[in-house]
């Protein structure tokens, strides 16, 4: 008979007693003579957080908040094969894996493993089951899938526009130019399940009548490029790409193009220019790419995550997919959960899951048990969602109402130590660096906004700057040429909307409440705590600390460069920062 397994973890935020509980359990097992038939294991993560001691008895009994005195009863129940009903817990919320269905499950370099997991069944169904472009697009329409790149445009409509265009040549492009700071779900899909994206491209190509597809992947993802290339080669070797695929009259070729590291090339018209070998700069829309795209031919551009959904939708049917999610946003979304969160990583949840569930139930809460301040979504095009709105179900519309966007799926958790002026300045600098310079609202707007934000963060801010920021933001939103410029003010607008007080403290009191903005800090030595060890004096590169071991030390704020070194090295917390 198989051994029974109990696993335990103390999930309290304060003190980890896992080892103590483990010892009690081992003794209990020995007392009951069960040490050979049951193994108690300490685990590093049990999928629950701040629930006290969690004990799981395989296969499916979970006890939360177990006290030491309960352990005996649990062991007795294990011995008799029963459950202590009053202690057993509800089922915890889980993730739902559609896009990441194969990531971490199959060998990404093996076409056989992909095929053993429903691989290339969808393209077969499209060619021989659904047969026509209209049927395939209809299935996509039923699914309600919307673009996962940010704007959330319905995928079937994009395909339908391109399908309706009469042209001798059409193209499909996979947008793998993932540039948002902190977002990396596309990389993981490309690296972990390249064939699913290839299959999505084939289905997209069939639906719109394209015979050539391009993967546009940023050169910073060498492993993703390598694995996609391998997947394409395997497909050619197996007759899944090229002429007369699977014996049908569908021809399709795939090639890779590398992005050279410009953020703006994630914008579709700039991306097309880049593939054509031109400078990566956007041009006005309309005409939209589905009308006039790559080499002036109708072109469909889809995000990696969107394409990874396609095969699943075809296999399981659009209706089944549409059962997951909210009224307007169907399916799941992969978030790259990063920042001040315990379990950073990729999370795939059904649309409509609340931010709180994502950050606390799956992410394990805030790092070092600090208080959450806000969550940033959508990268440099998105906004900050304050903690009061954590219970908002995540979908395209809700995030927009809060002044953020879904974006590509970066979700950055911020705690009390994060300064909102600093955050806005960070994203503004990013947009300023990445602005292509073609249109003046973006080229000049990002520079001006960055100037005002720097002024505020450096203590030279005036109260009129806030209105100036708002005015520039508005004109950029209206007048910029492409998505980059139109959305670049979003981090500023959303922080101004929710945290204007914080801006005002920076301007009026010349203080940074989160102690982040360097130029607004001042350091001083607290004589009551100082042991006159001289460590700060020795470490001060700017020679701003004077004194000696007898009289103690003082910091001259005129010389101080606010590097924070003295604050870090002091073992007695005798250097005050404010």
């Amino acid at each position: 008979m198989d051994k029974k397994i109990i696993y335990i973890k103390d999930t309290s935020f304060a003190l980890d007693r896992t080892k103590d509980v483990h010892a009690i359990l081992l003794n209990g097992l020995r007392d009951r003579g069960m040490q050979d038939s049951v193994q108690a294991v300490r685990v590093a993560d049990i999928g629950a957080y701040n629930q006290g001691v969690v004990v799981k008895v395989l296969p499916d009994t979970t006890y939360y908040g177990v006290k030491d005195e309960d352990l005996g009863r649990i062991l007795d129940a294990v011995k008799q094969g029963t459950v202590v009903k009053e202690l057993a817990a509800r089922k915890e919320p889980g993730q739902l894996r559609i896009v990441l269905r194969n990531c971490g499950v199959i060998d990404p370099e093996s076409i056989e493993e992909y095929m053993a997991n429903e691989g290339y069944q969808a393209i077969k169904k499209v060619l021989f089951g659904l047969k026509t472009q209209d049927n395939t697009i209809d299935e996509m329409k039923k699914s309600g899938l919307r673009g996962r790149g940010g704007a959330g445009y319905p995928t079937w409509m994009k395909w339908n526009f391109a399908k309706k265009m009469a042209s001798d040549q059409k193209y499909v492009i996979c947008n793998g130019d993932e540039g948002d700071p902190g977002a990396y779900m596309d990389r993981s899909v490309l690296e972990g399940d390249p064939h699913s994206v290839v299959e999505g491209m084939m289905i997209a190509g069939f639906s719109v009548g394209a015979s050539v597809g391009y993967f546009y992947i940023r050169a910073e993802y060498p492993l993703a490029v390598e694995r996609i290339q391998k997947a394409i080669d395997q497909c050619y070797a197996n007759g899944l790409l090229g002429k007369n695929i699977l014996g049908s009259d569908f021809n399709f070729d795939l090639e890779i193009r590398l992005g050279a590291g410009a953020f703006v090339c994630g914008e579709e018209t700039a991306l097309i220019a880049s593939i054509e070998g031109k400078r990566g700069a956007p041009h006005p829309r309309p005409p939209y790419p589905s009308v006039k795209g790559l080499w002036d031919k109708p072109t469909v551009i889809n995000n990696v995550e969107t394409l990874a959904n396609v095969a699943y939708i075809i296999n399981r049917g659009g209706d089944a997919f549409a059962k997951v999610g909210t009224q307007t946003s169907k399916g799941t979304k992969v978030f790259a959960l990063t920042g001040k969160v315990k379990n950073s990583g990729l999370v795939e949840v059904p649309m409509g899951t609340t931010i709180r569930e994502i950050v606390f139930d799956i992410g394990g809460g805030v790092y070092k048990n600090k208080n959450i301040k806000a969550v940033q979504t959508g990268g440099p095009s998105g906004g900050v969602i304050p903690k009061d709105f954590l219970d908002t179900p995540v979908d395209y519309e809700n995030l927009q109402k809060l002044g953020s966007i879904m974006g590509s799926g970066g979700m950055i958790v911020m705690d009390e130590d994060d300064c909102m002026v600093d955050i806005a300045r960070f994203y503004q600098r990013f947009c300023f660096d990445e602005s292509c310079g073609k249109c003046s609202p973006c080229r000049i707007g990002t520079a001006q906004m960055l100037g005002f934000l720097s002024k505020i963060a450096e203590g030279r801010g005036e109260i009129g700057d806030l209105d100036n920021l708002r005015r520039i933001a508005q004109s950029m939103q209206r007048a910029a040429l492409c998505g980059l410029g139109q959305t670049a003010p979003n981090p500023v607008i959303s922080t101004l909307r929710y945290y204007e007080d914080e801006y005002r403290v920076h301007i009026l009191d010349k203080k940074c409440p989160s102690k982040k903005c360097r130029d607004l800090l001042s350091y001083k030595i607290i004589p009551e705590k100082c042991k006159k060890c001289g460590l700060c004096f020795m470490n001060c590169e700017a020679k701003a600390i004077t004194g000696n071991k007898d009289d103690g030390y003082i910091i001259d704020m005129n010389k101080c460069v606010r590097c924070g070194r003295c604050f870090e090295v002091c073992k007695f917390k005798a250097v005050g920062k404010e």
């Binding site: 051994k3 193994q39 395989l58 990531c103 060998d107 069944q121 077969k124 990583g345």
Partner: protein, 117 residues
């Protein structure tokens, strides 16, 4: 390799899905490799070969638990499917000795357990 046809895809679909046991998978995406999955993979393949254990060591993509890479997933007969995190060469050997050989789970590195149906 022979060409895949409509018929061969139909055959694959008809076959009952094989539940393969006795494998070790190492997450080898960028995040895993950056955390040292390369070395873990090397140690595991060498140890399995040296001890002549009938277990396949495979590569796979990222399951998403990036904060605890390198990740090693183990599935052997008579044991639940376990994901170990923060694995290094030492822990990899423990996994071979304890989990695979003695059928005892390794403490303090488990991040996920799936019960087989």
């Amino acid at each position: 390799m022979s060409k895949i046809t409509k018929e061969s895809l139909e055959n694959i679909a008809k076959q009952p899905k094989k539940e393969e046991n006795n494998w070790i998978k190492v997450g080898m995406s960028s995040c895993g490799i950056a955390a040292g999955a390369d070395e873990v993979f090397k140690v595991l393949t060498e140890e399995v070969k040296k001890r002549n254990i009938p277990v396949a060591v495979k590569k796979c993509g990222c399951v998403g638990m990036c904060s605890v890479e390198p990740l090693v997933e183990v599935n052997v007969d008579g044991m639940p499917q376990v994901t170990y995190g923060r694995v290094n060469g030492e822990v990899a050997i423990q996994i071979i000795e304890e989990h695979i050989h003695n059928h005892r789970l390794v403490n303090d590195h488990i991040y996920d357990i799936q019960v087989k149906k």
